[in-house]
Subunit: 346 residues, 2 copies
């Protein structure tokens, strides 16, 4: 098996590689070089999960994601559920109440229509569960061998009803860092089905809607500084991105970060690091230290974040680094990986 | 050459074919059967270019399109220009002032980064020309042979500042039908480069931004009932869709519909019908008969619609049909084609 986890610098390349899509350093560099340089927009450059726009007196959040997960169906979800969940969650991470989604389907010639029906039904069911309407769409078909069954893009619009800006730039020294649950389930679930691996337990993706606990935090008056769901690149990459954007130091405790036994076991066998594995139903919240306990109580009232814990704090040093205090008390710096441990995870 | 133009009923099929992406009857049936049935939303079922949502006191239009055009570069444009133009135009067709776009890129492993840079630069230049910001984005990479260079999804948000609903349901008997220019250029330009055909003249796509003439119509106080750009399926399919949605009769005069000599010549050689060819910079406007001349004058003041003409009228009969009065005075019914003359045109 190819090891994608090596944190060495990526080789210079003039062609797109799978690692460019992994959410790691190579993707960041590609985006810096190509996309952000060209579009040159402040909202895009801030690298948040979405952008907040003013429309009259209202503020709306706007976000997009394409889904190319392989395989289309996996334990705990499918590309349709993922496409709706992911975009609803990105809106939630902007502090927005999800309002409407678009759906852009790219179908490969030869796809069984029954597969399309299954995926679309899953999108519809997930949208209904999220109380969000899919209001506009588009369907394209590409030749056999020029696609891979189904790719889905969902864009989302949400309403931002609470005043403070939720973004990496709002993170402050002393903030508590809360994690909504255990990590690594989605990555290992995809890996297991893709590689035909059998684990003793039936491990499923954590794919789940996160808008409810987020809205609950805001309604409870928690002064949320930053939110981020832990998709490509996992918890570690997310924390590194926020440390870099906020220009602050982040310290987390390994002991506080839950990893299910079967996830830990699979990671050991496969040589994967659960801190870098993608999740589809987990997020971190940065809140003032004084509101940490209240925020945890609010999160724990929701099934999807019932096991929320405080995993660390933001320091005052401007070194833009993330340090992990291990179980045995040593400290190590978390570095962004070059590519992704698992390509096409979402 | 395979003839995609035959208007016979499509054969029953349980697999996706290229014809399902063509904008014709097969695509309509697929959307009815799979997508609209599942999502079941009124806005989606109305089959307009976008959806209009209320946010506080404001109204916003929301639309999406994926672009899979082959080849990526063609005379008069490229996939990047097309992706921005198409979504800006869809917002304009909702009567909305374009506000912000998202960009979702699906890259194939092995794509030269220089190609990506060229496409992204074209997106940025077109967005700047349209005075619209690309505010949020996403990049995914798929394995070699599971994509085709670059696919782009753009979603768009615009602000609807004028009161009346612009939609097929607003079309009224007696409405004048205005066409903004000649038809068929985009389809023939793509066909020429794809098939390696050489025409005597240098035919280019009509790919162009349409928001300015639309905003001018609204600002001039024209009571615009419906707008539609003439992409997949061309002028004929657009008129048929509007006749079906509005449940009215549409009559147009062939003599009034301009087709450039080189487009007509290419169509004759290739057995294509210019009325069904995709355009990327042409639209129809349905306006009250009494405002027809004023609307034409407004349109003609803009270079992109300098050759706007009235091509027909909406009748009072509820037969949901489109009839074309030919140059020699005979009438024929325009029927929706089964698939598309040219797959992957946008």
């Amino acid at each position: 098996m190819v090891d994608f986890t090596c944190p060495l610098p990526a080789p210079a390349t003039d062609f797109i590689t799978l690692a460019h899509g992994g959410g790691g350093r190579m993707m960041h560099n590609l985006l810096e070089r190509c996309v952000i340089a060209a579009f040159g927009q402040q909202p895009l450059a801030s690298r948040h999960d979405g952008s907040v726009l003013s429309v009259g007196q209202a503020r709306i959040a706007f976000t997009t994601d394409s889904y190319v997960v392989h395989p289309l169906f996996f334990p705990g979800g499918d590309i349709g559920k993922l496409a709706v969940t992911g975009t609803v969650n990105d809106l939630a991470m902007c502090g927005a109440r999800p309002l409407a989604l678009s759906a852009g389907l790219i179908l490969e010639e030869g796809l069984p229509i029954a597969t399309l029906e299954r995926v679309v039904a899953s999108m519809a069911a997930t949208a209904q569960a999220a109380s969000v309407a899919i209001v506009t769409g588009d369907t394209k078909v590409v030749d056999r061998g020029k696609g891979d069954g189904i790719f889905i893009n969902t864009a989302g619009v949400g309403v931002v009803e609470h005043a403070p800006l939720i973004a990496p730039s709002s993170v402050r020294p002393g903030d508590a860092i809360l994690l909504s649950g255990d990590v690594g389930r989605h990555g290992v679930a995809i890996m297991a089905v893709r590689e035909g691996l059998q684990f003793q337990t039936s491990l499923t993706s954590d794919c789940a809607l996160l808008a409810d606990p987020v809205m609950a935090l805001l309604t409870a008056g928690i002064e949320v500084h930053c939110l981020r769901d832990l998709t490509r690149g996992g918890l570690a990459t997310t924390l590194i991105e926020i440390a870099e954007s906020s220009q602050l130091h982040i310290e987390v405790k390994e002991r506080a970060i839950a990893v299910a036994d079967d996830v830990a076991g699979a990671c050991e066998v496969l040589g994967l690091d659960p801190l870098y594995l993608a999740n589809e139903g987990r997020f971190v919240a940065f809140v003032p230290d004084a509101q940490s306990d209240g925020a945890l109580a609010t999160l724990r009232a929701h099934p999807v974040s019932a096991h929320a814990v405080r995993i660390g704090s933001v320091g005052a040093v401007s070194d833009k680094m993330v340090t992990l205090k291990s179980r045995i008390g040593t400290q190590r710096i978390l570095d962004m990986h070059s590519g992704e441990q698992l390509p096409r995870i979402c």
